[in-house]
Symmetry: C2
Subunit: 306 residues, 2 copies
């Protein structure tokens, strides 16, 4: 709309959608660190809350419900950012459940939008170059949510259980339906039938849909080169053929390091070290499946910017 808009630099836009506590912020954080905050802007679509926590009480609305969010304004802001324009983004303080003053965001080379509903509407989806849906095993997501919400957000365990039950209807009707719109679906889970130690990283199943040009992983992940990750032709939830990358969480540290170097050489910068920020899941904890997932997304972001 601005006369200058067409000449502005347009960022590469990545969406990371998923239910509450699906690991969106953790996935995004590694990408921001690897790209650098001077080149990469990360924002939460969950900041577009229409009500404070106390205002919602009498409404029987959960914060993930579309009616609890300014989704039209989110669409507008995604369009503005995608065309290189700044936005005054609303802010929601999850720790205390209050909407507060907005903040000015200028688009950078890369814009990462994570949240429960960034892929809800067609207009919003059209703003992204790459879309990801995070779909961890439900038991794992519940454990993650319990740890975070009782730790950082001041809820009791009973309140978290109530919140999960209250949110299930919206999860089923508006959050999980976004999965079908993602170019990449990532599921972290424990491999059934194995008896790994408790601190073994989770394995990742990464569906690579042909809705965008995916890298030729068959050339990289030959069984003779690595046991950490492998490809498999499988069927998507709708029955259509899809490529699936499986990354094991239980392989040895040496194998993992070799696999990460192999993949980063092919997808990232040949000859460069694997960025130390990839795969970080918490203080002192690291996951090769997460790191390799992040490498795949970095590949798409860097491809998109060329």
């Amino acid at each position: 709309m601005s006369r200058a808009a067409d000449y502005r630099h347009r960022p590469v836009m990545l969406a990371i959608a998923g239910d509450s506590a699906a690991g969106k912020a953790t996935l995004a954080a590694g990408l921001v660190e690897a790209l650098g905050t001077d080149r990469c802007l990360s924002l939460s679509a969950d900041d577009y809350q229409r009500f404070d926590r106390t205002e919602r009480v009498g409404m029987s609305l959960t914060p993930v419900h579309p009616d609890s969010n300014y989704l039209g304004i989110l669409e507008q802001h995604l369009q503005l950012l995608a065309t290189g324009q700044p936005v005054l983004k609303p802010v929601y303080d999850h720790a205390i459940g209050l909407r507060t003053r907005p903040e000015l965001l200028e688009p950078k080379d890369f814009v990462i939008v994570h949240g429960v509903l960034p892929l809800h509407s067609k207009l919003a989806r059209a703003c992204f170059d790459v879309t990801v849906y995070l779909d961890p095993a439900e038991g794992i997501r519940r454990a993650w949510k319990m740890r975070r919400d009782t730790g950082d957000r001041g809820y009791t365990a009973e309140q978290v259980r109530e919140a999960l039950a209250a949110a299930e209807a919206a999860s089923a009707s508006v959050i999980r339906p976004q999965r079908v719109h993602a170019d990449i679906v990532v599921s972290f889970s424990r491999i059934s039938g194995r008896d790994d130690p408790a601190d073994t990283p989770l394995s990742a199943e990464v569906l690579l849909r042909p809705t965008i040009v995916q890298p030729d992983l068959a050339q990289i992940l030959r069984p003779s080169l690595t046991r950490t990750a492998h490809l498999r032709l499988t069927r998507d939830t709708d029955g259509r053929p899809v490529e699936s990358m499986h990354v094991h969480g239980y392989t040895s540290e040496e194998e993992n390091e070799a696999a990460e170097n192999l993949i980063w050489n092919a997808l990232g910068e040949p000859g460069a070290e694997v960025p130390q920020w990839l795969g970080i899941t918490g203080a002192g904890r690291r996951s090769t499946p997460l790191a390799i997932t992040q490498m795949l997304l970095l590949y798409h972001l860097l491809q998109g910017s060329r």
Copy 2:
């Protein structure tokens, strides 16, 4: 940018610019009441503050300085409203000097934007159908500011005097230069040489520039019909010829009422009563010069919507 934007209803947009306490909100309030809040949205461009009052203390920035405002976002929001789209407008609480949660605004048939800097940039000006600059005599503006800021905003008289002195540089460099961009310039003042009672309404001098199609007031304000208002061909501040309407504050109530009916019949709705909301300057106080100025603006708004 939205694919639906071209089909959205575009509002008629009016800007009311002027220095702090120039009477912008009072002028706007009568228009909103006359048009009805279901058809008319009014917003303050002064809500786009970048800092809280306390944050500005160490910066030697006054709130009217362009660097104290998100003027780029104001431009963006004016463009969005002008094309029929909603905005999430920031909010500044002038009473306590704090930025607070934003509010959702949907454009209506008429959008009135009042503030100190709505005509600062060419892009912002391009969003308006009609632009007004309020230019009361400086002594009157200072008296209005003193009364409002010590009354509603919790300042002491000494603080208001300091604020006026501190703001003078920005007034001269960025606020008053907007006067030249207005289609209509309104100056309220006391007529020099007269000894009217203290509660006599101020007179208004209304410059009607040919930058928009002005109504043919020469047909309406014939000296044989009214003494309350008259036209005069004069020179604008840059020396160019301009029409000037003078509305006296001191004529009798009967003459004023007749003049208001005469003008409202010609500019507003023929045969209809003068809207009771026009001319209100405070509790129980009314000004015919203000009412007639508002009628002129209502004419432009209603013309623009046809």
